[in-house]
């Protein structure tokens, strides 16, 4: 059994945790530095929380987003794409009309880190930034392929046990994202208003941006979003509503992890 190595650092207002099978020959320091650089790039460029980010400076300049640099145009286009895909339940346009890429930036950073790791020849890894996770392309059944889903904060009653544990090793899915009305940096602006509104949604998909945007859409869009998600029929979801209920899509039960007793130990990168 291979051991795992992981390192973590704070970025984008949350924590990133990178975990890899510890049988690689790379130099850990240069690798971790590069991963942090990637995340910092996204933060410095697109953060709405940092006054010195490129985005904040562009906003201060009062220029129209259509005149912004090419990477911003790509981000705007990506937002439009996922807004259309989710029937408008995911959007980068705030109710005030202001464009806010926060809902896409973290997922794109995760994607970029994963692409970087793969480019280094690393095939068995996970990239977890603030609870949104991508797995490497060759993750074998192990702790690395097993991902717990936390229950919504409002339903926790102080207990930290996970609601579900999924194992993605034998599936086509490599990405999982959870959105909730209680997360930091809430970018869900129109949560359902019924008394049984979704309060947390987790989506398992083949890429992290799809997973993240749909997770947001399922919380914001309630039943209509769920209908659209099921009609698309490509990915799986777990949704908690405010009435302590959990909804799972039909294929999700095949992803449930089974217990195992021998768990690899973690090493802390230094």
């Amino acid at each position: 059994m291979n051991d795992f190595l992981h390192f973590d650092f704070d970025t984008m207002g949350t924590t990133a945790i990178i975990t890899m099978e510890a049988n690689h020959d790379w130099r850990v320091k240069s690798l971790t530095d590069k991963v942090e650089d990637i995340c910092s790039y996204f933060d410095q460029r697109y953060s709405t929380y940092r006054e010195d980010s490129v985005l904040s400076l562009l906003r201060k300049g009062q220029s129209h987003p259509a005149t912004w640099p090419a990477d911003f145009q790509q981000l705007i286009a990506a937002g439009d794409k996922y807004e259309a895909a989710t029937g408008g339940h995911f959007t980068l346009t705030r109710p005030t009309g202001e464009w806010d890429p926060t809902g896409l930036v973290k997922a794109q950073a995760i994607d970029s880190v994963a692409i970087f790791l793969e480019a280094q020849g690393i095939r068995r890894f996970s990239v977890n930034i603030g609870g949104d996770i991508v797995l490497g392309p060759e993750v074998l059944p192990s702790d690395l392929s097993r991902i717990a889903i936390t229950p919504p904060v409002a339903l926790r009653d102080g207990v930290q046990a996970p609601a579900l544990v999924l194992d993605l090793a034998s599936s086509q899915y490599t990405a999982i994202a959870t959105s909730g009305t209680t997360e930091r940096g809430d970018h869900i602006w129109s949560p359902g208003s019924s008394d049984d509104a979704p309060i947390q949604a987790t989506v398992v998909a083949s890429d992290i941006v799809t997973a993240d945007t749909w997770a947001t859409a399922l919380v914001a869009g309630g039943q209509d979003a769920l209908d659209r998600f099921l009609a698309a029929g490509e990915d799986e979801a777990v949704i908690f509503s405010s009435r302590t209920q959990m909804v799972i899509t039909p294929g999700l039960s095949a992803l449930l992890a089974t217990p195992h007793e021998h768990e690899p130990r973690f090493q802390q990168a230094s």
Partner: protein
């Protein structure tokens, strides 16, 4: 060695959630949506067909026959009046323990009414180690969605050492689950 590996394989597996939907509950009654005023039309696709993707092929709720099986606790009357009868834990024939070194017990806990339904668990343990926790009955009353309280099973699974390297989410519990689990555990001397 203990007999637990076989038991775990048989009772849990990937199909734990699927089986939880039907086990012990009369077909057509379990988890039928209870209409609420604002309820959308029922979403039958939200309930996975009770297929068994795992290796398990049995829906037998009872402990494997090679276990020493205690008499299940008498399920208490559930909180709601139209409660589906619990899977009657008809005591399986109680053969002599095949492995004297191991003691495997199973017990069914009380049916616990919680805010939105009823949950009742059965626990099997070998030498003080929980082999399996299974839902005897689980029903959700009301709500817009047709929901599966399968997280209760999963919670139990995780509590017995399911390893995972990552956690996704904002971060619940059901007091009903803890009560149900505690009730079942007391039946197996844990």
């Amino acid at each position: 060695m203990r007999t637990e590996s076989k038991i775990v394989y048989g009772l849990l597996g990937l199909s734990a959630l699927g089986s939880s939907i039907i086990v012990g509950i009369p077909k057509g009654q379990a988890l039928e949506p209870v209409a609420t005023v604002d309820a959308a039309p029922a979403q039958p696709e939200l309930i996975p067909a009770p297929t068994f993707s795992g290796p398990q092929t049995t829906t037998d709720q009872q402990a494997p026959s090679d276990q020493a099986t205690t008499t299940p606790l008498e399920p208490t009357a559930p909180a709601t009046a139209d409660q589906a009868p619990a899977a009657d834990p008809a005591p399986t024939p109680n053969p002599a323990p095949s492995e004297p070194v191991s003691t495997t017990l199973s017990a069914t806990g009380d049916a616990i009414g919680y805010r939105y339904g009823v949950v009742q668990l059965a626990v099997t343990a070998t030498d003080g180690h929980i082999d399996s926790i299974d839902i005897v009955q689980a029903r959700v009353d009301g709500g817009k969605y047709r929901a599966v309280p399968g997280e209760l099973v999963a919670r139990a699974l995780s509590s017995q050492g399911t390893g995972f390297a990552n956690v996704s989410g904002a971060t619940f519990t059901s007091n009903a689950f803890r009560q149900a689990l505690s009730s079942a555990l007391s039946g197996v001397g844990l």
